[in-house]
């Protein structure tokens, strides 16, 4: 390798880190603010304190919100993963120009501005009596997140060798067995990634939540929204840190799960 290209490579790396920092910094500002000893939103100067975390985890309201958000995000992730995966497999099996059109249509929830979706959900949920309920939240978030799963699972299926499906059928397995024993194991990383994205989408969703939740359902983002409007309590910053930590944990988990399979298999050999 010559010096010039390795220098260019260094600049490229530095640039990439700068951009990354620029993207991440606004999110990280919550961390110092959450450690302020003051009663108002501020960056700590002389000392730091965990009082806002103590407040967060001793307040029934905040704990209930965290719990609600977790339940809704898990429910939405499961529902979206099932729907998105089935959709992706169906479209993959049909695989015509018509199914490509359907795929584009199914991606619409990702493209439509959230405020439009929110209004639509509100109108329909009123009629269905789903307003301000766990079920309504889970279904709405699942609908928003299913296209994510559709994308990740479709990508995994595009890499799936169709000969494996033929081999399975040739060996006597009908479609359900083939799905369970050959197709699912091969696209598992795609399904997992989709599930994590769906979880994250629901976990910090606020726009649709504001429209269809009222008294009973109070998710974490909604509690933060209220907290920041009514007073400048730094507990909101602590909640933001919790939000980020859970999101990062989910991402990390998905990376570990999809990576972990290959090396585990490799060590089995000797």
């Amino acid at each position: 390798m010559n010096g010039r290209s390795s220098m260019g490579w260094c600049f490229g790396r530095a640039g990439a880190w700068l951009v990354l920092l620029f993207l991440v910094l606004p999110a990280l500002i919550a961390l110092p603010v959450s450690l302020t000893p003051e009663r108002y939103l501020s960056v700590p100067k002389d000392s730091m304190s965990l009082r806002h975390y103590a407040n967060l985890f001793s307040s029934d309201e905040w704990i209930s919100s965290i719990f609600q958000s977790l339940v809704i995000a898990c429910g939405a992730a499961i529902l979206a993963t099932v729907l998105g995966t089935l959709c992706a497999i169906g479209l993959w099996r049909i695989s015509t120009r018509f199914s490509e059109a359907i795929r584009a249509l199914l991606l619409l929830p990702l493209i439509i501005p959230p405020i439009i979706s929110a209004m639509a959900f509100y109108r329909v949920w009123v009629k269905l009596g789903l307003l301000d309920s766990y079920l309504g939240m889970i279904i709405a978030h699942a609908i928003l997140a299913a296209p994510m799963v559709l994308i990740t699972v479709s990508a995994a299926l595009a890499n799936f060798d169709p000969k494996l499906e033929q081999a399975s059928r040739n060996l006597g397995a009908a479609l359900p067995t083939t799905l369970r024993r050959v197709i699912f194991p091969s696209i598992r990383p795609g399904i997992l990634a989709g599930a994590v994205f769906a979880f994250i989408l629901s976990w910090d969703e606020i726009v649709v939540t504001l429209f269809i939740a009222k008294f009973r359902v109070f998710t974490l983002p909604r509690r933060m929204w209220d907290g920041i409007r009514e007073n400048t309590d730094p507990t909101v910053a602590a909640a933001a840190v919790v939000l980020i930590v859970v999101t990062l944990t989910a991402l990390l988990l998905s990376v570990l799960l999809s990576r972990g399979r290959a090396p585990a298999a490799e060590t089995k050999e000797t």
Binding site: K163, R169, T177, R181
Partner: protein, 368 residues
């Protein structure tokens, strides 16, 4: 009901496959006998895989019927046909060990655990992979993967085994070994093998019968030496081995012997069947190894041509001598390299001669 003789085994009746307006397989009729080793041989794109996929049940024929022991199986889904298949590239399940791959068809058939255990062990022994049973496919060499694919396809005792260029990914030396193993396996398991290849040597050395295909059509069917010695078309003569083609019009037909003029010389040919009439244009195929090459002699040749050596290629066991025949073109002859008394040089004029029954009358073949 068709007569019982022809209803035993696999029968293809007028099988065709169209992709849009393109016809990949055209009107294939074939009787595959029980237990035989049948090879589909043809250049890439000649429709071999499409034909095999229709037999396996992965492609719906556009026309025609497939029958097994007299029963149409065209409506039977692939998973119910019970044909083993070794795919191009093997298609081993990457997340399953060798053992799990071979056990898969047995588990799917819900066989008892103990029976699966012993059958997998038996298959592992058959392909000599016992010590690799815990490995994943990607931890095996190409030859080992190929054997796993074979063991998996044979573990449920299929009546018919379909193989799509199973040796394509192996290097030449290994290929020869595996060819022998495959033939041996065929003798031992007694299943019908339908084997796809574009390699003529493979086809000749392994098969009971060879089906030569081109442009989706069956060109000729026969035992390897039948096809080699008596090709019916220019394509068959050229695809299975090499051939020179002598073209001329018949000047005399004397019983079974006909004469024609090629490049100003009289060439005689002894026919097997009906001889063409005087004046007809004929094409004679002549194998390179059936030509005697000798230094220019004094006596005129009774059946041959004179040519100038344009190139010599050494292949270890033999030489290929390419000669230019004035007014005709190039003629290739093959000469054994060992104890060959003659040393030829490029530019030298030589006598090319052959026996009257060395040539084969072939048709040009209209489709191309």
């Amino acid at each position: 009901m068709p007569d019982p003789a022809s209803s035993d085994g696999l029968t293809l009746k007028g099988l065709s496959k169209r992709f849009g307006s393109f016809e990949a397989v055209t009107d294939v009729c074939l009787d595959v006998r029980r237990g035989e080793f049948l090879t589909l041989l043809g250049p890439s794109g000649s429709g071999k895989t499409s034909l095999l996929m229709m037999i396996a049940g992965f492609l719906d024929p556009s026309d025609g019927d497939i029958a097994l022991d007299g029963q149409s199986i065209i409506r039977l889904p692939a998973e119910k046909r019970n044909f083993g298949m070794v795919f191009q590239g093997y298609a081993l399940f990457p997340h399953m060990s060798v053992w799990q791959n071979i056990a898969y068809p047995l588990e799917v058939r819900k066989q008892p655990r103990a029976q699966i255990q012993s059958r997998v062990q038996e298959m592992l022994d058959l392909v000599q992979l016992t010590e690799f049973s815990d490995r994943l496919p990607r931890q095996l060499s190409g030859g080992q993967q190929q054997r796993v694919a074979l063991a998996r396809a044979l573990s449920f005792n299929p009546q018919i085994l379909l193989l799509d260029e199973p040796l394509g990914a192996l290097d030449k030396k290994l290929r020869t070994d595996v060819q022998e193993q495959l033939k041996d396996l065929h003798r031992r398991v007694g299943a019908t093998f339908i084997y796809v290849t574009h390699d003529q040597e493979e086809a000749l050395s392994m098969s009971d019968r060879v089906v030569i295909m081109n442009h989706g059509k069956v060109v000729q069917v026969g035992a390897p030496n039948d096809l080699y010695e008596r090709p019916e078309t220019v394509f068959a003569a050229n695809f299975l081995g090499k051939s020179n083609f002598l073209r001329g019009s018949v000047t005399a037909a004397n019983g079974q012997t006909l004469s024609c003029v090629v490049a100003g010389a009289d060439v005689h040919h002894r026919c097997n069947g009906a001889a063409p009439g005087v004046g007809e244009l004929v094409t004679l195929a002549l194998r390179p190894e059936k030509i005697d090459v000798a230094p220019l002699g004094d006596a005129p040749l009774s059946n041959g041509l004179q040519g100038t050596v344009s190139s010599l290629t050494y292949y270890g066991s033999n030489f290929t001598v390419t000669t230019e025949v004035a007014g005709f073109g190039s003629v290739t002859a093959e000469v054994g390299a060992w104890r060959n008394p003659h040393r030829f040089e490029t530019g030298q004029t030589v006598d090319l001669s052959w026996q009257e029954d060395a040539t084969v009358l072939v048709s040009e073949g209209t489709e191309s």
